[in-house]
């Protein structure tokens, strides 16, 4: 088992809760004093910083949402003057204005530290060559992984995303040992290596840190088989800090939240009520040390749950399950909540189905929603008879229907016709006009 900072990561649980309480108290005080938005919001909720004395008091605080970022665009959420901000990132908003975040010098230090823990948990050391294929720029993925790897003292190759041919050439020529990118791109790299006749088992590449989009254990196994590496999940969002909010250890048993810096809660997305451990709901984060942009009970819209038991690795940090879906790209089809990840899980349960699929939702006026799942054919599905293809479609449809509880249509499409994304994979096309 590997650790970057074992003393902190495996600290006493009581001491951690006390530390969280102290840090929350200070964060709330600063947010109230320095950010007019928070002062207004706390006043409206009838809560004063003096009422926050331990981590359990966190439930008294109001939530912060993505809309709050938009309303305070661009710098209204900052708690320090711009003289103290050394970095600004923004996340690609799918609608409306970008979500802008600012970091003080100390925030960058904290970010580097939590990313060092993340990469260190997969055994990254100063002897490693880290090929960082996350995009550099306003997106936090590139620089987040970069600073963490540099903190460790590894040799960072800041290749950024895209240009698959060059990625593979550098991987071979430099002997990269660590890969950072989105899981769908890792899979794509594995396929491209195969096509180019590169024997990945002969490459020094050893471990990969994949995040920024949901994926599954089946995808993990595929990536591991195709690239001959250990594939670890990482999680983060720019509003909280970027990558490094939570990370997997070599147990590969869900993601340890860096709880001394980011406090997780699971709530019911409809009522906002906190849910007990083990229950599935929306994960909410409160930053405990951020200076530039303190975040109080931020609604991530990510659906997951916190594991109740302690991980075998000995870390005190609680584990969040890999993200199961989003409250906002959660599809409601004929009244049934459908998460794309459920469809992926069901698809890979059907033998011979590679997880390249597209969910298409449509609604004709006056009719019920239509759900189609497009699946790329693989050679083992095709024979000389249409009947065989129809059987494959039916097997997949039956599996999906039993998982989701709604009827749907499976449509087989030609290989490589569903776009492989070099960034976040596009898995859903919703053609319904659902208004707003």
């Amino acid at each position: 088992m590997f650790y970057w900072d074992k003393e902190t990561e495996c600290m006493d649980e009581g001491a951690l809760r006390r530390l969280q309480g102290e840090r929350l108290k200070e964060t709330v005080r600063r947010a109230y004093e320095c950010v007019p938005f928070y002062r207004r919001k706390f006043d409206e909720a009838g809560v004063h910083p003096s009422q926050i004395n331990s981590i359990d008091d966190i439930v008294k605080l109001p939530f912060t949402t993505k809309e709050d970022f938009r309303e305070n665009y661009p710098f209204g959420m900052f708690a320090v003057p711009l003289e103290q901000i050394v970095r600004i990132h923004a996340s690609s908003g799918t609608t409306g204005k970008q979500t802008v975040v600012g970091y003080t010098r100390n925030d960058i230090e904290v970010w580097s530290e939590v990313m060092a823990r993340t990469l260190g948990a997969g055994g990254t050391t100063r002897g490693d060559i880290v090929q960082n294929a996350y995009g550099y720029g306003l997106f936090t993925g590139g620089l987040g992984a970069h600073y963490g790897a540099e903190k460790i003292g590894a040799s960072v190759v800041p290749i950024s995303g895209g240009n698959t041919k060059r990625q593979l050439q550098i991987m071979e020529d430099f002997g990269s040992t660590v890969l950072c990118c989105t899981p769908s791109y890792a899979l794509y790299l594995g396929e491209a290596a195969e096509e180019q006749g590169i024997d990945t088992s002969k490459l020094p590449l050893r471990v990969g840190f994949f995040g920024a989009e949901p994926w599954t254990d089946k995808m993990r196994r595929e990536i591991e088989a195709k690239l001959h590496i250990d594939a670890l999940d990482i999680y983060g969002l720019s509003e909280v800090i970027g990558p490094g909010v939570s990370y997997e250890c070599m147990e590969k048993a869900s993601l340890h939240v860096n709880e001394d810096h980011f406090y997780p809660e699971i709530i019911d997305p409809y009522t906002g009520e906190p849910l007990e451990a083990g229950k599935r709901g929306e994960i909410v984060f409160t930053t405990l040390t951020k200076e530039g942009l303190p975040l109080i009970r931020y609604r991530t819209r990510d659906i997951t749950f916190l594991h109740e038991d302690r991980c075998a690795c000995g870390r005190v940090f609680r584990r969040m399950n890999r993200v199961l879906g989003r409250t906002d790209d959660m599809l409601i089809i004929r009244g049934v909540n459908v998460f794309p990840s459920q469809i992926e899980n069901a698809l890979i349960g059907v033998a011979g189905t590679e997880p390249h699929y597209l969910i298409v939702v449509d609604r004709e006026p006056g009719k019920l929603d239509d759900l189609e799942v497009w699946v790329e054919v693989s050679p083992n599905m095709v024979s000389d008879e249409v009947r065989r293809l129809e059987e494959v479609e039916k097997t997949i449809a039956d599996e999906l229907e039993s998982t989701l509880g709604i009827s749907l249509k499976v449509k087989l499409v030609e290989p490589k016709t569903i776009a492989r994304s070099e960034g976040k994979a596009k898995r859903v096309i919703d053609r319904r006009d659902l208004g707003s």
Partner: protein, 143 residues
């Protein structure tokens, strides 16, 4: 006795059939017979070509999903009742014809029909016993 047939999965969208025929043409492969089975969304293009192994390779390289099957090429007398006679041989033995389609060329006075019979070896035996002539791959491609 058996002839190799290749089946190509095609989505029902414009240009896909042309992509197949262009790929075969570029590799100097001659199509001797074909049929299409389709649904609303996709089809299977079944082909008899002069160089089936090469065809599988070039089509796979082009990104198509291809399957290989064995079928029978049978001489059918070119007169009323010719085809009926052949089919009766098979149905008398309770053998199932999955599908059939015509071959472009002729064998002397005879037409040629491609049969997909299940099970194929029982089909061969029945047809031979019934006096029908089954062409080999070489004979077929020499026509």
């Amino acid at each position: 006795m058996k002839v190799k047939q290749i089946s190509v999965f095609l989505e029902n969208k414009s240009g896909r059939l042309a992509d197949v025929t262009r790929t075969l043409a570029d590799n100097n492969i001659n199509i001797r017979a074909l049929s299409i089975a389709d649904t609303i969304d996709y089809g299977l293009l079944r082909l008899i070509v002069n160089e089936p192994d090469l065809a599988v390779k070039v089509l796979t390289d082009e990104g198509f999903t291809v399957a290989e099957t064995e079928v029978l090429a049978i001489e059918v007398p070119d007169r009323p009742g010719g085809l009926a006679g052949i089919i009766e041989i098979l149905s008398a033995k309770g053998l199932n014809i999955e599908y059939m389609y015509a071959f472009v060329g002729r064998s002397g006075e005879h037409a040629i029909v491609i049969f997909r019979v299940e099970p194929i070896d029982a089909g061969i035996e029945a047809l031979k016993g019934g006096g029908a002539r089954i062409l080999t791959g070489e004979e077929l491609h020499a026509l």
